[in-house]
């Protein structure tokens, strides 16, 4: 099995290390770098819990190899809040609306919502709501019945206009 030297930025911090070819990005972030906020819940690309931001785009970190992230800028859930601890608006919206229970799927949900709100900043509320809801179909939550997530979406959509 080949091993590769890679260099990537995670939440603004530079990491240079070696990885085995078969190690997924999600596993590498957790076990290699200690960013355990990213959760692996299905490892076959359906549930969305492992979603991270790679060069600004939300992607499944279980469906990508660590070696493929060489040179990438990665943001995990640990990197969403401000340095002073102020929650990212999507984190705040989830908190305000009981958008999480066990919290296992939440890191991926927050990353997707952060990407979609950024890409759609300023659009009308119905369009933002639609974009967020559509993107949320890529996440499975077993606890909440999506009620708080949907309320959080409406809060974010309302705030964007």
């Amino acid at each position: 099995m080949s091993e590769h030297a890679i260099e990537l930025t995670v939440n603004g911090h530079c990491h240079a290390t070696r990885v085995e070819a078969r190690t997924s990005l999600g596993e590498f972030l957790r076990d290699g770098l200690g960013y355990t906020g990213t959760h692996l819940a299905c490892e076959h690309g359906v549930c969305g819990a492992c979603t991270v931001m790679i060069d600004g785009r939300a992607m499944r970190s279980c469906l990508m190899l660590a070696v493929q992230a060489d040179g990438a800028e990665v943001t995990t859930v640990e990197g969403l809040a401000e340095a002073d601890g102020t929650l990212h608006p999507v984190q705040q919206a989830l908190k305000d609306n009981f958008g999480l229970q066990c919290g296992f799927c939440t890191p991926g949900v927050a990353i997707t919502m952060a990407c979609v709100t950024r890409d759609n900043a300023g659009v009308e509320a119905p369009r933002m709501e639609d974009a967020l809801t559509t993107a949320m179909s890529g996440h499975i939550c077993r606890c909440t019945g999506y009620q708080g997530i949907r309320r959080a979406i409406r809060q974010l959509a309302g705030a964007s206009t």
Partner: protein, 903 residues
């Protein structure tokens, strides 16, 4: 002393949507789930699992696997047997099947663990797993309940595949005439699919041997206390030797009620290897090798009089227990809770659990939920058949508050339920007539709308009747800094117990919510409780916290009164400040009081303990009932068979609501699971015993577009517990399925009845009803399966009783199969002619009986017991040489089998 004075305008916490204390860490990736735990030198475990559903293990070749890089050990059952293990059910009774941690000579289902590989990484462990060669002499597996009735026993040491049996077939003799003579009889049959509980975090366990006799275990569980007690008992270790930590757990839903084979194997491996080890169940394992739920085949017949009043009912219930259930189960609770909310004079049932060569049965949110599904769907079917509105039919039969106290047909006292009141509240808040008009208009346009209702009651907060179902302990203290610390035996897998308990403390103690830190999730904290199980934490821990906070407030007041030379009655606490009535200058902060209580004992009242601490263990009433009525509106597409949920309104009565956000979150989560059960989720097996939904691509979990916005009405009738809470954890998953099925059935009514409800109601099965033909192929499939089922069940041969030559006098070891597990006892009989007396001796004590009868080799006697409730046990035993077998009728618990042999 219980000083209840609360100043006007005090900040209210109970009943408010406080943001959750858990969220800060969970939203920022700082939670600690089991897979986040890292220990120096930690090794990783992967299991070798059976690809064959049934057979004898001929050989296990580990040679190639042992050579793989990183492999530190490979264990089979032969290795683990060095540590004796007795697997237990949730009730701490011994598992009846010959279950071992790893397969012991035979495999009984696909996914059966055969060996465990321990390596430096999970990937390396999996590499070695793929090289372990297992040769199995394959046998024809029993997959369905029908297979189990006729096939050779799954467990060769047993006589048949009946894992558990309750109820009384003979009781049908009494019920049948009532059915025959009734104005209306309606029947239904439900085949409930198999569910994979599928918490987002699979099972997980890491174990670290800390010394010769100590072990720290991190585990995804529903109660660290229960897990620690289970492990200690199963492994024969002292209770204190095992500490279980579960900071964050990604959902449980009943699956994680108790440690099961893999988790216990991890602990044993750590003991044997003397190194920290970790096993993280992957999704493939979670779907195919975690315990499954439901899979029932249930028939129910109900007799009604001309006016639609219920007369009698008979139920035949069967549940697939799989090969290794987490406790053999005939689901007596289905029958206990099928009718107490309704006036039904006569009910009888037979209920059985069957062993098959499939993954074992485990707990899942509302394990007895079938009672609501089968009753409420049959009820609306009856309404359509008789021509009475389904709401009106309920009104004629429900037990309203004005009808209480009431006793159910099975002898359950009913005195604190509000399903009828919930229904009225629901009806007052929906425009039912308006919907019916809209429905009629839509039909003209070719659109098929439907509305469905369901009412139910649920026993919550059970305590005192079953070994693990206990009270809750709360330890509370005000630190010298004035901050409040609570140590709880609760556990949250999403329940938000740290939040709700802090709300109770803030309100009762008069301190700010932000100033309260709640610690839970560690068996070293608090005291024993089963955590999240049976919708109990809000009720029992809530009550315990309520009282402990009052006790602590009293203590603060006593100190404050003493310091101010005032009477205790004049002291109030609010917003972290302690006030003396009429003396505002004497107000002190709680911190000031605390500093004195800890640091200046001389200023405390004579004899007062230093510090500010309180502890309370709450033993609530044995059961607290929750009620609800739900309504759902759907549109069914006749073109594709797809169901769209338009509205869903819940009217529940969970008493005092501590946090509406948390309560509604519990209801919503249960309803989403209900929607999954009715429309999407299915874990089918093929004829060879292979599970067919091994990934989330095939096991369809509800996604955001499958779940509507739920609307809530809260009835808030306080219960008899401290604080007045009622449990709410499971209700949505219980009342949800019938609500949705009824709405679909209403939409489909013009096309036909759902004669036999086969779940899930896939689009193809909906078209079966609309088109009145077998579009889905379900009928063809089931008819094939039923052919196999039409074979006589094994009836114990009628023995013409010869008089027992050896006599019955003396001691007999007997086992009574009760709903809470087998109960072992010694029976002593003295026969004097045809009259028999004697006693039964169990670990709980001895009880005498007299006035029994001996006829040939048959002995009958009665015995009254007080616990768990007053019932008369009626024994009917057949003696044959040195063995005895028979039945014990246990009132509402139906009948249990008795077996035994001469001592």
């Amino acid at each position: 002393m219980n000083v209840q004075a609360k100043s006007v305008g005090a900040v209210r916490y109970v009943g408010t949507r406080q943001p959750r204390k858990e969220d800060a860490r969970l939203l920022t990736g700082r939670g600690q789930f089991t897979d986040d735990v890292r220990m120096p030198g930690m090794l990783h475990i992967a299991f070798v699992r059976s690809a064959v559903a049934r057979g004898r293990i001929v050989s296990i070749d580990l040679d190639a696997a042992r050579e793989m890089p990183g492999v530190q050990a490979i264990y089979t059952q032969a290795d683990l047997a060095a540590v004796p293990v007795q697997m237990l059910s949730f009730f701490f009774t011994n598992i009846e099947s010959p279950v071992t941690l790893l397969a012991d000579g035979r495999v009984a289902c696909v996914g059966d663990p055969i060996a465990m590989v321990i390596a430096e990484s999970r990937a390396q462990a999996e590499d070695a797993v793929s090289l372990v060669e297992v040769v199995v002499e394959e046998e024809t597996p029993l997959v369905t309940i029908a297979d189990a009735k006729t096939g050779a026993p799954v467990h060769p040491d047993r006589d048949d595949n009946i894992a558990a049996e309750m109820g009384d077939e003979d009781a049908l003799e009494a019920i049948q005439p009532l059915l025959d003579g009734a104005a209306h009889v309606v029947s239904t049959r439900i085949r409930h699919q198999r569910i994979a509980p599928s918490p987002m975090e699979g099972r997980a366990c890491a174990a670290s041997p800390d010394g010769a006799e100590e072990m720290t275990v991190w585990m995804g569980c529903q109660s660290p206390h229960l897990a620690a007690r289970y492990l200690a008992q199963a492994l024969g270790m002292p209770t204190g030797a095992i500490r279980v930590v579960a900071r964050d757990v990604g959902g449980g839903f009943g699956l994680k009620n108790i440690p099961w084979r893999e988790e216990v194997a991890v602990v044993v491996a750590a003991k044997l290897l003397r190194r920290p080890v970790k096993w993280i169940e992957d999704r493939f394992e979670s779907l195919t090798a975690s315990s499954h739920a439901r899979e029932q085949d249930v028939s129910l017949s109900l007799a009604l009089d001309e006016g639609g009043r219920f007369q009698a009912a008979w139920c035949d219930y069967a549940c697939n227990n799989g090969a290794w259930p987490m406790g053999e189960d005939a689901n007596i609770a289905v029958h206990m809770f099928m009718w107490p909310a309704y006036k039904l004079p006569a009910y009888g049932f037979i209920t059985r659990g069957w062993y098959t060569n499939t993954m074992g049965l485990g707990g899942y949110r509302g394990p007895w939920a079938m009672e609501s599904l089968v009753r409420e769907t049959l009820l609306e079917k009856a309404a359509r058949k008789i021509g009475i509105d389904p709401v009106e039919l309920r009104r004629r039969n429900l037990v309203y508050l004005t009808d209480q106290p009431h006793t159910s047909s099975m002898g359950i006292p009913v005195e604190d339920i509000t399903p009828g009141e919930c229904l009225e509240k629901l009806m007052a808040n929906i425009d039912y007539a308006g919907f019916r008009r809209e429905q009629a208009e839509a039909r003209k346009e070719g659109r098929d709308l439907g509305i469905g209702f369901a009412t139910y009651i649920e026993p919550t907060g059970s305590a005192g009747s079953m070994a693990p179902m206990t009270g809750e302990t709360v330890q509370l203290r005000i630190e010298p800094t004035g901050k409040v610390v609570a140590m709880l035996s609760t556990h949250s897998q999403g329940h938000g117990t740290a939040t709700t308990m802090a709300q109770v403390i803030a309100e009762q103690l008069g301190v700010a919510y932000e100033d309260i830190a709640v610690y839970e999730g560690d068996s070293a904290i608090g005291a024993f409780s089963p955590g999240a199980a049976g919708s109990r934490q809000g009720v029992i821990a809530g009550g315990a916290t309520w009282r402990a906070a009052e006790m602590l407030a009293d203590k603060v007041k006593v100190v404050a009164a003493h310091l101010s030379n005032a009477s205790v009655e004049t002291v109030t606490i609010e917003g972290g400040m302690v006030h003396i009535a009429g003396a505002p200058e004497m107000s002190r902060s709680i911190r000031e009081i605390a500093e004195i209580a800890y640091g200046e004992p001389g200023r405390l009242p004579e004899g007062a303990a230093t510090g500010l601490e309180a502890q309370y263990r709450y033993q609530p009433p044995p059961m607290t009932m929750t009620s609800a009525a739900h309504c759902c509106m759907v549109e069914v597409s006749a073109e594709t068979g797809f169901v769209k949920i338009l509205r869903w309104i819940s009217a529940e009565d969970c008493g005092t609501v501590i946090n509406p956000g948390v309560v509604e979150g519990q209801i919503a989560g249960g309803l989403a699971q209900a929607i999954g059960q009715v429309l999407l989720e299915d874990m089918p097996y093929d004829a060879r015993g292979n599970p067919l939904a091994a990934t989330f691509k095939d096991y369809l979990m509800p996604s955001i577009s499958d779940v509507p916005d739920f609307e809530y009405l809260h009835a808030n009738t306080p219960s008899q517990t401290i604080g007045g809470m009622r449990g709410v954890g499971e209700g949505g998953a219980i009342v949800g399925p019938p609500t949705l099925v009824n709405a679909i059935a209403d939409a489909l009514a013009p096309f036909g009845e759902i004669d036999e409800l086969v779940l899930p109601l896939t689009p193809a099965r909906v078209l079966d009803v609309i088109e009145q033909r077998d579009v889905s192929g379900t009928r063809a499939h089931l008819d094939g399966a039923d052919v196999a089922a039409v074979v006589e069940e094994t009836n114990p041969a009628e023995v013409v009783a010869p008089v027992m030559a050896a006599g019955i006098d003396g001691d007999w070891n007997m086992v009574l199969k009760t709903p809470m597990g087998p109960q072992e006892m010694v029976a002593h009989f003295d026969a004097d002619g045809a009259v028999v007396s004697g006693y039964l001796q169990a670990p709980e004590g001895r009880q005498d009986f007299s006035g029994g009868t001996l006829s040939g080799s048959q002995v009958k006697f009665e015995m009254k017991v007080e616990k768990p409730m007053k019932i008369t046990l009626k024994y009917d035993l057949q003696f044959d040489g040195d063995t005895v077998s028979g039945k014990c009728k246990m009132g509402m618990f139906g009948s249990a089998t008795v077996t035994g042999e001469r001592v």
